[in-house]
């Protein structure tokens, strides 16, 4: 994490970084370190942890190793509403978020609508139905976005596609604070939830006869994971792969799928992978900044493959 502060599109000597770290917001270099890099590094940690934990929760709930934070269509909905604002000019937003820009208010709106629908459904229907509905909803919004793109001005589409790729470069101290206010309690809730849903690894029915209130578990998992995912989408955008690969790396490293160990360690692996990916995004081809999603795959996939083959050799 410390090393991340030395990396960036602008080269600042390490001694200078240490000299200004933490107090100097006046000089240009000081501002770059304290005003740009520090919140960005912390944002990557919080965001990565949030995504990996949301992914872990969904993987446990849906008992599907391919589940990620976007499996229930949240990202597609967020992108669709942003597209509506950016490509068509129809802005659906919450007045409270007006100051945060079009993307934040539109995408939060999208994520909130989907989450609310899923929560309402999960109170009445079983997990499988919620999954099917979520995936279907994702497809609907995905199709909606494609229509928007088909109708839009060609020149705008490129900018739109770039804009939908997540990045941590927009994390300022204010936004880090807002993000943390939403994410940290949700992460704490996820930890508590990981104890509550521990029998879920055996399957929903096994868990039910072991005294788990499946309905409460389902609702709270979706609620907590939605808050985490929606918050990250709002402030960072759609960052792929971390939510999928973070839990898997923990699972392979620890050799367990027990939620009470998987959830906290996913937070750590997610934060680490994301930070490493963001470091690479910033420093691989300066002054170009790569989209983080491309880099998370670059970082995460080799680790995952190495762990998988190592386990295979052992087995």
């Amino acid at each position: 994490m410390f090393a991340s502060l030395f990396l960036g599109t602008v080269h600042i000597p390490p001694g200078k970084v240490l000299a200004v770290l933490g107090w100097d917001f006046q000089s240009v270099d000081g501002y770059i370190v304290n005003g740009i890099r520090l919140p960005r590094v912390l944002g990557a940690l919080v965001g990565g942890a949030a995504l990996a934990v949301a992914g872990a929760l969904y993987q446990i709930l849906l008992r599907n190793p391919l589940a990620d934070p976007y499996v229930l269509g949240i990202a597609n909905a967020a992108i669709f509403f942003y597209g509506l604002a950016f490509l068509v000019g129809i802005q659906v937003g919450l007045p409270a978020l007006a100051g945060q820009g079009v993307y934040v208010s539109s995408s939060v709106m999208g994520a909130a609508i989907v989450s609310a629908l899923l929560l309402a459904l999960s109170a009445r229907y079983g997990t499988l139905y919620v999954l099917l509905f979520g995936v279907a909803l994702g497809f609907v919004f995905g199709a909606g976005t494609q229509i928007l793109i088909a109708l839009a001005d060609v020149m705008k589409v490129g900018a739109f596609v770039l804009a939908t790729l997540g990045t941590f470069s927009g994390v300022t101290w204010d936004r880090l604070l807002a993000m943390s206010v939403a994410c940290l309690p949700a992460l704490a809730a996820a930890l508590a939830l990981s104890l509550y849903i521990s029998p879920y690894v055996l399957g929903e029915e096994h868990a039910a006869v072991m005294g788990l209130n499946v309905r409460v578990a389902r609702i709270s998992v979706i609620a907590v994971a939605s808050v985490l995912t929606a918050t990250v989408i709002a402030y960072v955008g759609v960052v792929g792969f971390v939510g999928l690969v973070g839990p898997h790396i923990s699972r392979l490293l620890l050799g367990t799928e027990s939620p009470q160990r998987l959830v906290p360690t996913s937070a750590l692996t997610g934060a680490t992978v994301t930070l490493a990916a963001d470091d690479m995004a910033r420093s691989l081809l300066p002054p170009l900044e790569l989209p983080i999603t491309a880099v998370t795959s670059l970082v995460g996939v080799p680790v995952l493959i190495w762990l998988l083959t190592r386990r295979h050799v052992q087995g």
Binding site: R37, V102, A152, V154, G170, T172, P287
Partner: protein, 441 residues
């Protein structure tokens, strides 16, 4: 005496009396004639005296010299008239050359024109009255991708900048080119800032053929256009499909890729390309010469003013989307007497660079319009607080595009250059209010 003798005597007497009377009246007449003659001669003498006076005054004002001057002017006018005649005949033979544009070419061969368009397709423009045999000769000579009979009468346009360019030609020369447009790919996705366009759609003179990336081909066929003017984006799937479909359907089209030009004048020069199909490229050439003169005069005016550092980007969630180096924008800034600060940066970059160069940034053009961009500097800062480190933001020298920038700015290229030059060097352009840029309060 016999009665007959008496009658004879009477007759003789009457005759003698008549002769007498006649004689006396002739004498009277002779008398009055001589009187008249004397009178006329007197007056003639007076006239002669007058003439002598006039003659003497004439020689005093050098009328001869003046007359020859008038004659030489008439001669000059006659010569210009001859040149004008040549220009009018130029529809068949006079050449308009391409100086700046890299994306198209225009050549003449006897009665035909050969155009290479934005996709490197060869298009043969033949006069409408050329015989098929003659046409076959030229087709054999050039084996073109498309033959267009000019002037075209039913045209479909695919972008608002094309509409704007024809509108400007109409405005300057009253050519009525927009009346030969029958359809525009609009799709209702944006607002029009070009006067008269909405009425043309409303009263049905123009048909909206749908989205430029995916038009309604049935409508397009139904319009039976002589020519469809499209643009393409290389590597973009929708573009490839559009071209493929038009080929399949046999709709005559030409690719107008002015947007890919990297110089300001090169981009505007596409006005000649468009005009060639209407056989009015001589007029387009005159418009271009005028714009060129204006642009170069603004550039000359600011040449010695000392460079002003300009940033030209938009920011979205901390990612900086700067105008790429070597682009149209780069050239525009250079002409307006600015130094582009991000000439070394690819399209996408980060806030660290913006802050690092913050103190050198004299003027920021925030690449967005009032509809989508920030409404004030405070708004801009709340979306991206780190822009507070940029001098131009602190000093309030932040500009957005006007709402009609993307539609009309290009058709009035000389005003774009003037606006930017005025923004960068306000002291040299006192009283100039930017037409296509809006200052952020």
């Amino acid at each position: 005496m016999k009665l007959s003798n008496i009658m004879n005597i009477v007759l003789l007497l009457a005759l003698a009396v008549s002769i007498y009377i006649l004689y006396t009246s002739i004498a009277d007449m002779r008398n009055s004639i001589s009187l008249l003659t004397a009178k006329v001669e007197g007056e003639l003498a007076e006239l002669r005296a007058d003439l002598a006076r006039i003659n003497s005054s004439l020689s005093r004002y050098d009328i001869e010299g003046r007359l020859s001057d008038v004659e030489s002017r008439i001669e000059g006018l006659r010569r210009e008239l001859g040149e004008l005649g040549a220009l009018v005949r130029g529809a068949l033979g006079h050449r308009v050359s391409v100086k700046y544009a890299a994306g198209f070419s225009l050549a003449y061969d006897g009665p035909v024109k050969v155009v290479v368009d934005g996709e490197n397709r060869t298009i043969l423009l033949a006069p409408g009255n050329m015989s098929d045999d003659d046409l076959a000769f030229y087709v054999g000579k050039y084996s073109p991708d498309l033959v267009v009979r000019t002037p075209v009468e039913r045209v479909v346009l695919f972008s608002a900048t094309q509409v704007a360019l024809l509108a400007r030609l109409d405005e300057e020369f009253g050519l009525g080119l927009l009346d030969r447009v029958v359809g525009v790919a609009w799709g209702g996705t944006y607002k029009w800032y070009i006067p008269g366009v909405e009425e043309r759609f409303n009263d049905g003179r123009w048909t909206d053929v749908g989205y430029a990336s995916n038009p309604n081909y049935e409508l397009l066929l139904k319009l039976r256009p002589d020519l469809v003017v499209i643009y393409t984006v290389p590597g973009y799937e929708a573009s490839e499909k559009l071209v493929q479909r038009l080929d399949e359907l046999g709709i005559p089209y030409v690719v107008d890729n002015e947007w890919r030009e990297e110089t300001v004048l090169g981009r505007f020069e596409w006005v000649k390309f468009l005009a060639a199909f209407f056989d009015v490229e001589d007029r387009a050439g005159r418009l271009f010469d005028m714009v060129e003169r204006a642009v170069l005069s603004y550039a000359a005016k600011v040449a010695d003013a000392g460079p002003v550092n300009v940033a030209w980007f938009s920011i979205y969630r901390g990612t900086v989307y700067a105008a790429p180096p070597g682009s149209y924008v780069h050239d525009l800034i250079r002409l307006a007497g600015g130094r582009y600060l991000y000439g070394d940066v690819p399209y996408v970059s980060g806030m660290e660079l913006v802050v690092k160069r913050g103190n050198y940034t004299d003027v920021l053009v925030y690449a967005s319009s009032p509809e989508f961009g920030p409404s004030s500097i405070g708004d801009l800062l709340s979306a991206e607080p780190r822009l507070g480190e940029v001098k131009a933001v602190r000093e309030g020298r932040v500009y957005l595009f006007s709402s009609d920038y993307f539609q009309l700015g290009y058709a009035y290229t000389e005003l774009l250059v003037r606006d930017l030059a005025a923004i960068l060097h306000p002291s040299l352009f006192q009283g100039v209010e930017p037409r296509f840029f809006v200052r952020l309060e």
